[in-house]
Amino acid sequence: MGAHHGPAKGLGRWLFTTNHKDIGTMYLWFSFAMFILGGAFAMIIRAELFQPGMQLVEPGFFNQMTTMHGLVMVFGAIMPAFVGLANWMIPMMIGAPDMALPRMNNWSFWILPPAFLILASTLLMEGGAPGFGWTFYAPLSTTYAPPSVTVFIFSIHVLGLSSIMGSINIIATVMNMRAPGMTYMKMPLFVWTWLITAFLLVAVMPVLAGCVTMMLMDIHFGTSFFSAAGGGDPVLFQHVFWFFGHPEVYIIILPAFGVVSQIIPAFSRKPLFGYDSMVYATASIAFLSFIVWAHHMYTVGMPVAGELYFMYATMLIAVPTGVKVFNWVSTMWRGAMSFETPMLFSLGFLVLFTIGGFTGLMLSIAPSDFQYHDSYFVVAHFHYVMVAGAVFSMTAAVYYWLPKWCGKMYNETMGKTHFWISFIGFNLTFFPQHFVGLAGMPRRIPDYALQFADFNMMSSVGAFIYGSSQILFLYNVIATIVSGKPTSEEKTWDGAEGLEWTVPTPAPYHTFETPPAVR
C-alpha cells in the first residue's frame, strides 16, 4: 500500500523529510554526536582532575569545559535523544501514520545542528567560550562574561525554539492522532510521560528564553535586571533560571521513566504494576517540579519561611518517585524475567536512579544542604540521575527498539559487555564523588587539595572506562545496521506489548496508514 511512498533519494530525503521515522533517526544520530562531543569535554575535565596540580589546561579553559559539557549534554544529547525516540515511537505506539505537524517537525530538527554549531564556535572566539557554568549565574554571565556570551544567548534561543516546536508537535499528535479506541488511560506509559514532558517544556522554555533575554538586555542595552548597582537583583536571575531549571531536570527524566516502564514489563513477561498510579505519579512529579525551584538556592539567603516551604515541597517529591520505584519492582515480582541488554540497562537504571533519588532526598533537607550545596556530593547526585537515569534508559531504548527500526538484530554479547563496562565505569566515576563532596570538595574547581586525590584519580579512571565503552556502543549499532542478523519477526521480544510490535519488521516507511483497532 505504501510502496509508492518510499523515501526520496539522496540528501534531499534528509533535508526535506517530513517522515517521523527519518526525523527520529536524525535526532538520534545528532544526539549521539553531541553525546560524544559532551563526553570529550568530560574527558578533558577528568584528565585535568586526575591528579592535584594544573597539568593540561588553564583554569579558564577548565571552566569552559565544565560549562560546555553541561550545556551540550543537557540540551544537545539527552533532550534531543528523547525527542528522537518520541518521533520514532509515539506515532507507532498510538497507531498514528505520522506526527500531527510534519513540516514543523522537520524545522524543529533542522534548527538544532546550527544552534550547536554556533554554541561550539564560541570555543574558538576571542575571550573563549562561556565559562560561567551551565547554570550561568549573573553577574558572572553578564557584566563579567566573555564577549561570546551573546552568541551563547542566541544559541539558547534557537534551541529553545526547537524544543517548543517539538513539544507542541508531540502534544498535538498525542491529543489528536490516537487510533480509535486508544483512550488516554490505554496509552503506553512512554506516551504518557512524553505528553506530560511536552507540557513542561512548553511551560518553561519561554521562561528560559526570558531569562537569557534579560541577560542580553543587561549586557547590551543598559538595563539592570540582574545588577544591584542599577536596582536589580542577581538572585532574581537564580529564581528565573531555576523556575526553568527544575522542571528541566524532570523533562530529562520523565521520558526515561516512560522507557523503563515499557521495557521492564516486557522482560518480566508480566503487565506493568499500577499503571494508573504510574500516570498519576508522573503528573504529580510534573506538578511538584514547578513549586520546588528554590531548593537549588538554599544558601542565597532566603527568609526562613521560604526555606521551610521549599524544603517541605521538595521532600514531597519522594512520595510519587517512591511509588514509581515500588511499581517497577512489583512488576518484576513473580514475573518470568530474562536479562537481555535492554533489561540490563533498565535494571541498571532502576538501581542507580534509586540511589540518585536517595541522595536527592538527602539534599532536600535544607540544614544538611548547607554542607552538601555546591559540593561534589551534588555532582554525584545529579549524575546518578542524569547518566544512570536518562542515559542508561536511552541506551536501553536503543537496544530494545533497534531490531524494529532496522530489521536486524544487534550482537547480544557485545550489548551485555557494553552494559557491564558502562555500569562499572559509571559507578567507579561517580560513587567516590559522594565521598569527596561530603569531605568538603567544592564542584567546578580545576584543582583540589591533597586529601581528595585518591578518589579523584579513581573517578577519572572510571570516566575513561565509561567514556570508552560508548565506542563499543557505537560500533555495535553500526555493525547491526550494516551487517546485523536480519530479523523479520514482528515481535522481537516475546513479552513486549504495544502497537509498535504489530507492524512488520523492519518498520516500513509508512505505518498505520489505516488506524488499527484498539480493544
Binding site: K270, G322, R334, T354, S368, L438, L450
Partner: protein
C-alpha cells in the same frame, strides 16, 4: 544463566555496600580527625546537629534501599524465565499502593520535624557577640571587624600556595590550596556573626567544620553565624563558581582563645594605626620600590607576570601606562579598567601600598621613569576625583 544472576547481584550490591562503608566511616569522623569519606560534624553545635540529621536520613535511605533492592534481587534470582517459572498476571493492589504512599509520607514528616528545628536555630542571629564583614572578590576574601572600639581592622586574605606548587614544579605542601596569607581570626566559644557580600560576582563562603555556607552576593548583605567550641585552624573554599580562579580562593579560620584573640586584635589595631602614620610620611624612591615589590607580588603578579611581561593582564614592562602620565597610571590602578579583568585596587590597597606599587611599576622591569608617588599624592588623587 544463573551465573549471570549472581554476577548482577554481586555488582549491583556494590553500591549498597559502599553506602554502608560510608555510614561506618561517619563514626571515625567523630574522633576529631576530619574524615575523607563523610561529612564532618565540625566544632559547632549546629554542625553536630546537621551531621546527625545527615546520618539519620542516610540510614533511612540505606534501610529503604536494602528493602527495595532486596525484593528486587530476590525476584531477579528466583523469578527468572530460565528457571521455568510462569509469570503471574496481577497488576495492581490498592492496599499496597496506599501503604507505600502513606508510609513514606509519615517518614518524611518525621524527618521534617528535626530539620525544621535545626533550620530555625540556624536562622537565629540574635545575641551575636561580634560581627565580621566578609566581602568576596575575584579571587580573594576581605575581612572587616566591625563593632570593636579603636582602629578599624580590615585585611584581604588570599591564596598563599605558590604557583610553582600548582604548576607541579615543586612538591605540594600539606595544606596545598587550603592556605592563605592572612587567616581570619575569631575567638572560641563566641557567637560570631558574619555579614556576607561581594564586590564583583557571587561567591560563597564555606567552612565545613564551622557549618557555615552562605552566598556572598554583590549589592546585598547576607548574614550567618558560627559558634566554634574548639580552638584550631579550619579550612574551607569558595563554593560558588566565580570565574577563572574560583578554585584558588580558600578560607582559613583561626579559632583561638579569647585572650589570644584580644592580643591579636590589639596587634592589628596597632598595625592599622601605623599605616595611618605612614600615610603622613614621605618616602625615598628606594623605600617605595622595596615596599612596592612586595605589594606587586601579592596583588599584581598573578595577572601581569613576575617580570611584568603580562599574562591575563597586559604587559607592564614597557607599557604606555607605566611609562606615561602619573595621574593616568594611578587612575588605572585605583579605579581598574571597566570591562576587563583589571580590578579597582583603590579600595583594596591602602594609600601607602598604592603609592609604593605604582612607583615600583614605573621603576622596574626595564621601566625607568625615576619618578614616584607619595601616599599623599594617592590621597589627593582619590579625593580629587
Amino acid at each position: 544463566m544463573c551465573f549471570e544472576a549472581k554476577r548482577l547481584y554481586r555488582l549491583a550490591l556494590g553500591p549498597v555496600l559502599m553506602l554502608l562503608a560510608m555510614v561506618s566511616a561517619g563514626a571515625w569522623a567523630a574522633d576529631g580527625e576530619r574524615s575523607t569519606v563523610n561529612m564532618s560534624p565540625g566544632v559547632t553545635e549546629v554542625g553536630q546537629t546537621i551531621f546527625d540529621l545527615h546520618m539519620i536520613i542516610l540510614w533511612i535511605c540505606v534501610i529503604i534501599g536494602v528493602l527495595v533492592f532486596g525484593v528486587m534481587f530476590y525476584s531477579i534470582i528466583y523469578h527468572r524465565k530460565s528457571r521455568g517459572v510462569t509469570p503471574a498476571t496481577f497488576h495492581e493492589s490498592t492496599t499496597v499502593e496506599i501503604a507505600w504512599t502513606v508510609v513514606p509520607f509519615i517518614i518524611l514528616i518525621a524527618m521534617a520535624v528535626p530539620a525544621t528545628k535545626t533550620l530555625i536555630d540556624i536562622y537565629n542571629f540574635d545575641d551575636a557577640e561580634m560581627d565580621i564583614m566578609v566581602t568576596g572578590y575575584q579571587w580573594k576574601w576581605k575581612y572587616e571587624y566591625l563593632n570593636d572600639a579603636g582602629e578599624n581592622v580590615q585585611f584581604f586574605s588570599s591564596l598563599s600556595t605558590p604557583q610553582s606548587e600548582i604548576l607541579n614544579a615543586e612538591a605540594k605542601g600539606e595544606h596545598y590550596l587550603l592556605e592563605v596569607d592572612e587567616p581570619v581570626v575569631i575567638p572560641v566559644n563566641t557567637k560570631v556573626r558574619f555579614l556576607m557580600t561581594a564586590n564583583d560576582v557571587i561567591h560563597s563562603w564555606w567552612v565545613p567544620e564551622l557549618a557555615v555556607k552562605k552566598d556572598a552576593i554583590p549589592g546585598f548583605i547576607n548574614e550567618t553565624w558560627t559558634l566554634a567550641t574548639e580552638e584550631g585552624i579550619y579550612r574551607g573554599q569558595c563554593a560558588e563558581l566565580c570565574g577563572k580562579d574560583h578554585g584558588f580562593m580558600p578560607i582559613v579560620v583561626n579559632v583561638v582563645s579569647k585572650e589570644e584573640y584580644a592580643e591579636w586584635l590589639a596587634g592589628k589595631q596597632a598595625e592599622a594605626a601605623k599605616i595611618k602614620e605612614l600615610m603622613a610620611q614621605t618616602f625615598s624612591l628606594e623605600e617605595l620600590v622595596e615596599r612596592g615589590k612586595g605589594v606587586y607580588e601579592r596583588s599584581c603578579l598573578a595577572c601581569h607576570g613576575a617580570n611584568g611581561e603580562g599574562g591575563v593582564g597586559t604587559a607592564i614592562a614597557g607599557s604606555a601606562i607605566a611609562n606615561g602620565d602619573m595621574q593616568g597610571h594611578l587612575d588605572v590602578v585605583a579605579n581598574g579598567v571597566a570591562g576587563t579583568a583589571m580590578q579597582a585596587f583603590g579600595g583594596q590597597l591602602n594609600d601607602v601600598d598604592l603609592a609604593a606599587v605604582v612607583t615600583y611599576q614605573r621603576n622596574a622591569f626595564g621601566n625607568n621613569m625615576g619618578d614616584m608617588a607619595q601616599p599623599i599624592d594617592v590621597y589627593n588623587f582619590k579625593n580629587g576625583q
